[in-house]
């Protein structure tokens, strides 16, 4: 484990670190149970683990900081030879910002809303006496340029709420780097971002870290991200190190069974042939659910149209027993579409058809039988389950409500449904707070299944879950599809998840369907330029992917740009590498069908043939 003596001294050495929580009037709970690792100069060490692994707690220990309620209980954290557990508060204050700097997960929350960005970026360097205000401001501007932030001369004079999330994330990097620390601690810095924004930020981070030559600790749950940026990987579980080694070795040849399991849960990148497509099976004359020319949004304008239009002229068909995946970046209208289907948000135009008959737009006017057949599964099981009701009552209610099942029969049925979602029967007597995140999500699914629906609307049901737990829920969904023959509308921002589960894919952009069709067709050329961008942005689990991707035309044109909602023209116009000036920004694009005849549609001014060839550097 220890290196030979002629190598440069380590920037950070963590030996047998132990941290415990000391709750009031209860025995201490160990959080970090003897963790050791080193960070060499210029090296990027990734701490990878799921929630509860202690990865954030360990990374903060490098700054000699513990969250309120946590305490160091053993081991040492040597930052350039100084033990951060023991140094005086005054010395700690000097080291922080000067020698070691921290980047948090949510820049939006970590920037003080009342102070200008420039002041916050330069504050640490100036306070520590490392630079004058002028020098620090100049250095910050250089960093803004290096991080490819727009308007570097003036962005420092703005307030945090005046810039975008991706920009804030990069500004936080500038804040950390101003006083040239020898160690950077990055805590899930890209997790809260959209895929297309994520790679831009990742690239900026990687470039700056290389240029500055500082060492870094990179905390994340995402192996694919780690593969792009880390030299060395430490795999954590339950406050202990499971395995550590070079990035190459961990990614290509994991040893520990936990690491292997983690790798298995990472979904492969979306390419054709992945999904176990069922196109052609189960087909009957009428689709289970159909959305026709729907326009919807929030607020009510004077003319009866919504104030903010989120969906425009959307057409989607869900065949019986099929899984239709709906993808797009945040704000593209995915959830709104599901809410329109469920009647929670009445469409202002167009209609929703169930088994061929039109449903009233609002849930209030729909008949109980219709409601029963279309069930909604919410994203956050935490808030979707009433904390004051027992699991048995939560699952039992739809049975009572739709099927008039009572008493013994009800208990039997609840037990059967719990079994269906692979939960033990004793859970019926528990409250949601007594369950883990994955278990709550299963209860959430169970409640929808209890209604015996035809269509299940799943809104980002795995995005709040850890990698392995999420993968297990997807497995469960596949089983349920096979066992029950229910149709799924599966909404996700994660293209890989959709690709591995869906039969058909609908790609939404700015409230419009830009491409749809069987999953294999959509994932192989010809692509809509936006689909191509999405596919290109999903990190692959191999070292070196990031550099290759950043060279593609899609990436150069479309990454890290805001979505604009437009009434005229194609909304993707300003991010599109193949946009036609004068056409794409003026006219609504036509819907073109692919030659294959499998129902693959692309909404674009370019001919299907052109799209097949355009953007030559298709991902591997």
């Amino acid at each position: 484990m220890t290196d030979t003596s002629n190598e440069p001294a380590n920037v950070l050495e963590v030996h047998d670190l132990m941290i415990e929580a000391r709750p009031h009037g209860a025995p201490p709970i160990p959080i970090v149970k003897g963790v050791s690792f080193d960070v060499k100069p210029g090296q990027v060490v990734a701490l990878i683990g799921e929630s509860g692994s202690g990865k954030t707690t360990i990374s903060l220990a490098a700054l000699g900081y513990t969250k309120p309620g946590l305490h160091f209980s053993g081991g040492e954290v040597l930052l350039q030879g100084e033990d951060m557990e023991l140094v005086s508060d005054e010395r700690k204050r000097q080291l922080r910002g000067e020698n070691v700097a921290y980047l948090a997960q949510s820049a939006a929350a970590t920037f003080n809303p009342a102070l200008k960005i420039g002041e916050q970026v330069t504050e640490s360097a100036v306070l520590h006496g490392a630079m004058t205000q002028e020098a620090a401001t100049q250095r910050a501007e250089e960093l803004y340029r290096a991080l490819e932030l727009p308007d570097p001369d003036r962005i420092g004079g703005r307030y945090p709420h005046q810039v975008s999330g991706g920009q804030l994330q990069r500004l936080m990097a500038a804040m950390a780097l101003v006083s040239r620390p020898s160690l950077l601690v990055l805590d899930e810095p890209t997790t809260a971002l959209d895929v297309t924004t994520q790679i831009e930020v990742l690239k900026a981070f990687k470039k700056v870290i290389q240029e500055e030559g500082s060492a870094a600790i990179y905390v994340t749950h995402d192996l694919a991200v780690v593969a792009q940026i880390a030299d060395h990987i430490v795999v954590l579980y339950g406050g202990k190190v499971m395995e550590q080694g070079s990035a190459e070795q961990i990614v290509t040849n994991p040893q520990h069974s936990y690491t292997k399991r983690l790798m298995a849960a990472v979904r492969p990148s979306p390419v054709a042939g992945l999904g176990d497509s069922m196109a052609g099976d189960h087909l009957r004359d009428v689709p289970a659910l159909e959305v026709r020319d729907v326009t919807a949004g929030y607020g009510k304008g004077a003319d009866g149209k919504p104030l903010i239009t989120v969906l425009r002229d959307v057409n989607v068909t869900i065949e019986r027993g099929h899984v239709v995946g709906i993808i797009g970046e945040s704000g593209c209208g995915k959830s709104t579409l599901a809410r329109v289907m469920a009647g929670l948000l009445p469409a202002s135009e167009g209609e929703v058809l169930l088994d061929g008959h039109a449903l009233p737009p609002s849930v209030k006017e729909r008949k109980r039988e219709d409601l029963q057949l279309v069930q909604f599964v919410f994203q956050m099981a935490d808030t979707a389950l009433n904390p004051k009701q027992r699991i048995g009552d939560i699952i039992g209610r739809p049975l009572q409500f739709y099927h008039n099942v009572h008493g013994r029969e009800l208990r039997e049925e609840v037990r059967r449904i719990l079994d269906l979602v692979e939960l033990p029967a004793v859970f019926a007597d528990r409250f949601p707070a007594e369950l883990s995140g994955g278990q709550k999500q299963r209860v959430n699914l169970a409640r929808a299944l209890a209604a015996r629906p035809e269509v299940l609307l799943c809104d980002e049901v795995t995005s709040a879950l850890d990698t392995i737990v999420g993968a297990n829920v997807i497995e469960l969904l596949k089983n349920l599809r096979d066992k029950t023959g229910v149709s799924f509308v599966f909404i996700s921002h994660d293209l890989s998840t959709v690709a591995s589960f869906a039969d058909e894919v609908v790609v939404l952009y700015a409230g419009r369907v830009v491409e749809k069709g069987p999953v294999d067709q959509v994932l192989s050329p010809p692509f809509h330029p936006y689909t191509r961008l999405l596919i290109a942005s999903v990190p692959e689990l191999r070292v070196g992917w990031l550099e290759e991707t950043m060279q593609t035309r899609e990436a150069l044109a479309g990454i890290a740009r805001g979505v604009t909602l437009t009434d005229v023209g194609c909304p993707f116009f300003d991010r599109c590498p193949v946009a036609i000036e004068g056409t794409c920004d003026k006219l609504t694009p036509p819907t073109r069908e692919d030659q294959s005849g499998h129902g693959h549609y692309i909404e674009c001014h370019r001919e299907v043939v052109e799209l097949g060839g355009a953007g030559a550097t298709a991902p591997a």
Partner: protein
């Protein structure tokens, strides 16, 4: 990186690494010792309010006469069966036993305040939840009415209404009930709106549940705990409000004993100092303080248990 760098921990096998359990279930509510003492104090006052007339040495309107040497004469015909002979806390400006009047007063002060708070809660919660659920027009109308009530400082509203209608116990209950119903309305409405937008309520709506189910099964159980804690605080405000009116001579009218009026009636005694007649004015004030501080401490204890989120909402 060399291969020697790789370290693999002891492997417990593939199936062990399941999802880590969530936070342990919440511990049950345990009062701190301060909370326990406070609860005992409140319990004592409630006991006295319920059974005071049978415990107090004298009737609240009974005059004890005093001879030149400071000994008391007792007229047996006025005495209650088990009455003690001496007045432990002295007599008031009319020669009535202060201790007895405090015990009797507990009934008046706590009774009126409790009734008024109950009224405020009944009206406030009903309308507040109705406003949160019904939305738009109902909400707008009710909220504007509440705004109008809250545009008056509480005590001003009290003064103006008492000036117009005179003071009586039912009026005091109605007045305090109305004034505080307005603030309960605001809290209940805010809570209701918070809960209304939760996904589990949305899930119930998507299921097609009726309004009654949503209110009684989804909203109220989740609003119960914060509202119960708030009840304690609201009760303190009502006690202070009623006592202040009584202190101004505009609340409970003689000869009924009431803590606020007792402080006022015996204010002259303050001038004689602690050894003189000050006790008659000080002790009822202390009675109010013990009750209100104790309730406040209990609420504080409970909200500290709930993670302070409650306290934040109610500051």
């Amino acid at each position: 990186m060399s291969e020697q760098d790789t370290i693999v921990a002891e492997d417990a096998g593939r199936d062990v690494y399941d999802e880590l359990p969530d936070a342990p279930p919440k511990s049950r509510l345990r009062l701190s010792w301060v909370g326990k003492v406070s609860a005992a104090v409140v319990a004592l006052w409630i006991f006295l309010a319920l059974f005071g007339p049978w415990i107090a040495p004298y009737h609240e309107a009974f005059f004890i006469e005093e001879d030149a040497a400071g000994n008391y004469f007792d007229d047996p015909s006025f005495m209650l069966p088990d009455a003690s002979v001496s007045a432990y806390l002295g007599t008031d400006y009319l020669g009535r036993d202060v201790l007895s009047r405090i015990i009797w007063g507990a009934r008046t002060t706590i009774g009126i305040s409790f009734a008024a708070t109950l009224l405020a809660y009944f009206v406030g919660i009903t309308l507040g939840i109705a406003a949160a659920v019904a939305g738009r027009l109902t909400d707008a109308v009710l909220s504007r009415i509440v705004d109008a009530i809250l545009a008056f400082p509480n005590i001003m509203l009290g003064l103006i209404i008492i000036a117009a209608f005179g003071s009586s116990i039912p009026l005091l209950i109605g007045l305090a009930g109305l004034v505080y119903a307005a603030s309960v309305f605001r809290i209940a409405r805010a809570l209701g709106q918070d809960i209304m937008v939760q996904d589990f309520v949305e899930a119930a709506r998507a299921r097609g549940e009726g309004l009654w189910w949503i209110i009684t099964r989804e909203i109220l159980p989740n609003a119960a705990m914060p509202l119960a804690t708030d009840f304690g605080l609201r009760l303190v405000f009502v006690i202070l409000f009623i006592s202040s009116l009584s202190f101004l001579g505009l609340g409970v009218q003689p000869p009924i004993s009431d803590w606020g009026s007792m402080v006022r009636e015996n204010m002259q005694g303050l001038g004689n100092g602690l050894s003189g007649g000050a006790l008659a004015s000080i002790t009822p004030a202390i009675a109010i303080a013990t009750l209100t501080i104790a309730i406040n401490l209990i609420v504080d204890d409970i909200s500290a248990h709930a993670g302070g989120s409650l306290a934040k909402k109610m500051v």
